[in-house]
Symmetry: C2
Subunit: 199 residues, 2 copies
Amino acid sequence: MSLRDRKRVRTRQAIVEAATELFEKRGYDETTVAEIAAAAEIGTRTFFSYFTSKEEVMFAESDARVVAAIKAIADRAPDEPPASVLLRALRTVGEDSDDMGSRMAALRVRFLRTVPAVRGRAAQIQFDAQREIARHLAAAYPGELTEVQAGALTGAFVGAVTGALAVLLDDLSEQDDPAAVQAAVREATDIALAVYLKP
Amino acid sequence: MSLRDRKRVRTRQAIVEAATELFEKRGYDETTVAEIAAAAEIGTRTFFSYFTSKEEVMFAESDARVVAAIKAIADRAPDEPPASVLLRALRTVGEDSDDMGSRMAALRVRFLRTVPAVRGRAAQIQFDAQREIARHLAAAYPGELTEVQAGALTGAFVGAVTGALAVLLDDLSEQDDPAAVQAAVREATDIALAVYLKP
DNA sequence: GACAATAACTGCATCGAGTGCAGAATTGCA
DNA sequence: TGCAATTCTGCACTCGATGCAGTTATTGTC
């Protein structure tokens, strides 16, 4: 890795940290890109060569989770049924919420309920990730599972979990407590499974 | 209904029509709010007293669908199981796609794949609607279905359908043909049901 | 170590979405 | 007709985002 690359990684990190700091202190809408850039000691214009938009900073690590889920699918046992593989893959994503130690992850949960732009972007990312997972799931079961079926299966699982989670987080209201959020994710997964397995 | 109200309705309609026309001709991003306002013969500033944002114009009638779904839930038979009621409610929303005769609905499908802002907003609306339906579903089965369970159930159904639909629409690519889209919705529902009923 | 090529950074000008404000125009009602 | 309540509108402004052009830093080569 060249100096250039290392520097770029460092700057990227600086932007995320500066943004985290400011978002925590002032909130999302009240923080301007110019302020983030200034805090990260770069020009405002440079910010946009690292992130295409302000929301993007909040989802800097999201790609890694999808990659992890896809890897989990690839690691399927020879005769493991699709639903089981999918469950393992989604648990992987959920566990990554142990990354909830990350302050940005906490902010994400908080802004999910208050900032439309963040909510919309999150929904879009989830949707895309779901589509990607479905693609790989279908590929892992050639001849056995069409891509459309894989899409339905993935959608059902993810939908059930997020549907339950939405209700739980509503009740949790106004709290950012990482432990509580994690517990909610676990509970949502359990309930989703129960509901899914006996219609 | 006073003259004032009637005029307001008429203006709202004029905005939607003007926007539809321009979106069809020039695309979403290429159409500015100022142009829409001019075509609807109002000031740019006035546009924002009818719609809070540019995307909102595309979802002008969306509320009606959610209301219809909720009504379907209220009409449940005395001993109808939750899953059946939910299915009826969601079919109601799907049928409303016969509203696909509406040019704006066609645009929605088209921009869903091409314009991030529209995609995000659509996801958010779906999410909120889902939450609302879950709330009513739980209320329709007091003591029998907790709100969290209702959330999981609704999420699973909606997720399965949209998951399957996403794949189907991808294949349909670049086509706006209303009939094809409707057929895709039906197929998605069928597959979702099949997947859902035998895990 | 000097040098050219390449990539990254930056300020500037610009556009479009969205908001607050204050005054003009319109409608409702007596 | 006259007055109050709404609605419409232009204006000024903020902020996110993009294109452009000039400057600076990094890299590989001689």
